[in-house]
């Protein structure tokens, strides 16, 4: 089965095409890109007036399976991803049981294969049970299909273990992703430590809890000549450290979420538990720093940190509600509204942040660009469509979004994975 996308304005990380072209996908691979392609038996999609990007890649999601299927399953998570324009996602290992061994990694791989829409890679744990005590069998996790390793949700707090993890992972040839949080500084915290927490009387999560670990891991990566990826950067100070380290040639990369470039701690003033997230929403200054870092390349990519929580889990007071925001279905709208429309990023830069860079970071050599011989993963976006986020429109099992009711610009019209339409409006 072939697929022909007509009249596509192609947006790659390096350029946005001036003229529409056709894209022919055969056997899951981009066979031809040309001004006018004839393919009699191919299914045709007309992308007139739409922008056509390489299939978006989100290297940081939580699909909750196994263990918390009432919040999300691999199947509902994949549906939410396809609706959000994503053709490849990486699932964090803080499931129950944790993805710290081959059988759980294979469960994720096999379930995703059974559903068969988009690409799903598990991320294995760095330490057994996310306890920062013993390294996982990293060779085995890689062989089982893990794309990277992370203790996300927890930081690898023991510096000796982190050092060993970096040495071992470098040998195995697998990327480590750090959730940067000094847990000693954040016990019982609800939100960013600052004016709002002082005003509301909540226990705060101080900025240094993040930047201390960023600094530590930069030092270790430098010392060991190892690679390191920093998850969900939220803080100006962390960004300054990363910028300086990159200038020195240290092999680090970093990501940021839509909520961290859109919202501030002010969102907690209404006591909305859907705005409780880890790392917490910070200040205007931090949001500006995240945007600047996206623009200048200090932050390499955008991820959702899609963290679905069931209604009953979030319907608590702020102290007791879990952290997390469902993000896959609002990511493109927020990125277009907050970054492209405001000239923080150009369209090619957005393709870079949401497709090319994540592909490069994860070593997916046939993804992240629309070019012949690349995988037939495509996201079609209507750049002008305006829409309102509504609870009833979510296909994720959970609706814990602080963006409900918000008007956004830029909407995913169709998602194509390996030449197969996995979502269309």
């Amino acid at each position: 089965m072939s697929l022909l996308i007509k009249n596509a304005i192609i947006v790659n990380a390096d350029r946005m095409a001036k003229q529409p072209q056709d894209i022919l996908i055969e056997k899951g691979v981009i066979a031809k890109i040309a001004p006018s392609i004839k393919a009699d038996k191919a299914k045709v999609i007309d992308a007139k007036d739409k922008l056509v990007l390489p299939g978006l890649i989100d290297i940081h999601v939580h699909f909750r399976e196994p263990g918390q299927e009432h919040k999300e399953t691999i199947e509902t998570g994949m549906a939410a991803a396809a609706k959000g324009g994503f053709t490849t996602v990486m699932c964090m290992p803080n499931t129950n049981p944790v993805i710290d061994n081959r059988s759980i990694a294979e469960l994720v791989v096999n379930e995703a294969k059974r559903i068969g829409t988009i690409n799903v890679f598990p991320i294995g744990a760095i330490t057994e049970g996310l306890k920062s005590e013993e390294l996982t069998d990293m060779f085995e996790l890689k062989d089982a299909g893990c794309a990277a390793l992370s203790d996300d949700g927890r930081c690898v707090s023991n510096s000796h273990i982190m050092r060993l993890a970096m040495e071992y992972a470098k040998m195995v040839g697998i990327l480590l992703i750090q959730h940067c949080e000094d847990h000693d500084l954040t016990v019982g915290s609800v939100m960013n430590e600052g004016i709002t927490s002082a005003l509301l009387g909540f226990k705060g999560h101080p900025g240094p809890a993040e930047s201390i670990i960023v600094a530590r891991d930069i030092e270790l990566a430098h010392y060991l000549d190892a690679r390191m990826h920093f998850a969900h950067m939220s803080l100006k100070r962390s960004i300054e450290l990363i910028r300086a380290a990159k200038a020195k040639g240290i092999k680090i990369t970093a990501e940021a979420t839509p909520h961290h470039f859109t919202l501030t701690e002010e969102a907690l003033k209404s006591f909305d538990t859907n705005a409780k997230v880890n790392p917490p929403l910070r200040t205007e200054e931090d949001v500006a720093a995240v945007k600047e870092a996206l623009n200048d390349g200090t932050i390499d990519c955008i991820v959702t940190d899609h963290a679905p929580h069931a209604r009953e889990d979030k319907e608590h007071d702020l102290d007791h509600a879990p952290c997390g925001i469902t993000g896959l279905e609002t990511s493109v709208g927020l990125a277009v509204t907050e970054l492209v429309d405001t000239k923080v990023l150009s369209w090619p830069q957005l393709a870079e942040k949401m497709a090319s860079a994540p592909a490069r970071i994860m070593g997916l050599t046939k993804k992240g660009a629309l070019a012949e011989d690349y995988d037939g993963d495509v996201t079609i976006i209507d750049p002008k469509a305006e829409w309102v986020v509504r609870e009833e429109d979510f296909v994720s099992k959970s609706v814990n979004s602080p963006f409900v009711g918000r008007k956004l610009k830029g909407r995913v019209e169709a998602t194509i994975c390996a030449g197969k339409v996995v979502f269309s409006r």
């Binding site: 390294l135 996982t136 990293m138 040495e167």
Partner: protein
């Protein structure tokens, strides 16, 4: 062939290629002694040799003791961990007291690197290092070189792989030094957490790909995985180690036809080395033990035949 002039054997750092050749040559003539019906020559009659072991040992201590006895020396054994040390005496005090009984050689093993050097500076007796810390184990390296030469006819130009816990291995450090001095090419292989990058400065290459290492090597020497070190979590699991780095029959399929497998002992069978390989056609592990006695006879003979040294105390 050079003459032996050293009073001690502390490590292989300043032992020349000629001196190593001399030890190996001398050992060759002593090997025959142990094969006799009456395994004794009078070479060191009247000499006293003390084995001062602050760390447990089965192989090395009995090997030294037999070597001394077959040369007709008088020997005593001190398991220092259980004697005066537990009463608070320092290493140097213990050694000085022993020397005061007019002994000719002290063979010392200690968990701290540098103890043999310290004793050498203060004592007149010949000091032989039987293993200090993670630093040096010169007699093991010498008996390994003797065995390689015996089995493969030469050392120069051979490719030798040392596999496993390089970080904590005195055997690895002494072998890297000795073998490179003799013109062999040494590659170390093991989990990156147990292979310090700095071994490159000792003259060894690092290669984490065990299959590639096996394919290229003339000699493969897995080291004991020191379970007691696992408290520091250097390995994800012993299981992953055995699967990835353990030397077994399957991995050896790609090995050279005349490869030899060595191990300094004691082995964890099924971990760094499978039982079938340990007992198999390539294994020279028991030859190493046999040769150990001959090499230690040669060392005792050469050291106790040289003249006295000046000391800081004297």
């Amino acid at each position: 062939m050079s003459e032996w002039t050293k009073h001690d054997l502390l490590d292989l750092q300043d032992v020349s290629r000629d001196e190593i050749e001399l030890i190996l040559q001398t050992a060759k003539s002593f090997k025959e002694v142990s094969a006799r019906d009456v395994k004794k020559v009078p070479a060191l009659r009247g000499k006293t040799v003390v084995m001062l072991f602050f760390e447990n040992s089965t192989r090395t201590r009995s090997s030294f003791e037999l070597a001394a006895k077959r040369l007709s020396a008088d020997t005593i054994n001190i398991a220092a961990g259980s004697s005066s040390v537990s009463k608070g005496e320092s290493v140097l005090d213990t050694a000085r007291n022993i020397e005061a009984m007019n002994v000719d050689a002290i063979i010392v093993r200690h968990s701290a690197g540098g103890v043999p050097q310290m004793l050498s500076r203060h004592l007149k007796a010949s000091i032989i290092n039987a293993g200090d810390g993670c630093r040096s184990h010169p007699t093991q390296a010498l008996l390994d070189m003797f065995t390689i030469k015996e089995k493969l006819g030469r050392i120069e130009g051979l490719k030798v792989a040392i596999v496993g816990d390089i970080r904590h291995s005195r055997v690895a450090r002494s072998n890297i030094k000795g073998l490179t001095t003799m013109g062999a090419e040494v590659t170390v292989c093991g989990p990156a957490t147990l292979v310090p990058r700095e071994v490159v400065s000792l003259g060894a290459k690092i290669n984490y790909d065990i299959y590639d290492v096996i394919k290229k090597s003339d000699v493969i020497m897995p080291l004991r995985i020191q379970m007691e070190r696992q408290e520091q979590k250097f390995l994800p699991s012993l299981r992953e180690y055995a699967i990835r780095f353990g030397i077994d029959k399957t991995k050896l399929k790609e090995a050279k036809k005349n490869v030899i497998i060595m191990h300094p002992g004691p082995t964890n069978r099924g971990l760094e080395l499978s039982a079938e390989v340990a007992d198999g056609e390539y294994s020279v592990i028991l030859d190493q033990v046999t040769n150990g006695v001959a090499v230690r006879m040669a060392i005792l003979y050469l050291l106790l035949g040289t003249k006295e040294k000046p000391t800081e105390d004297g």
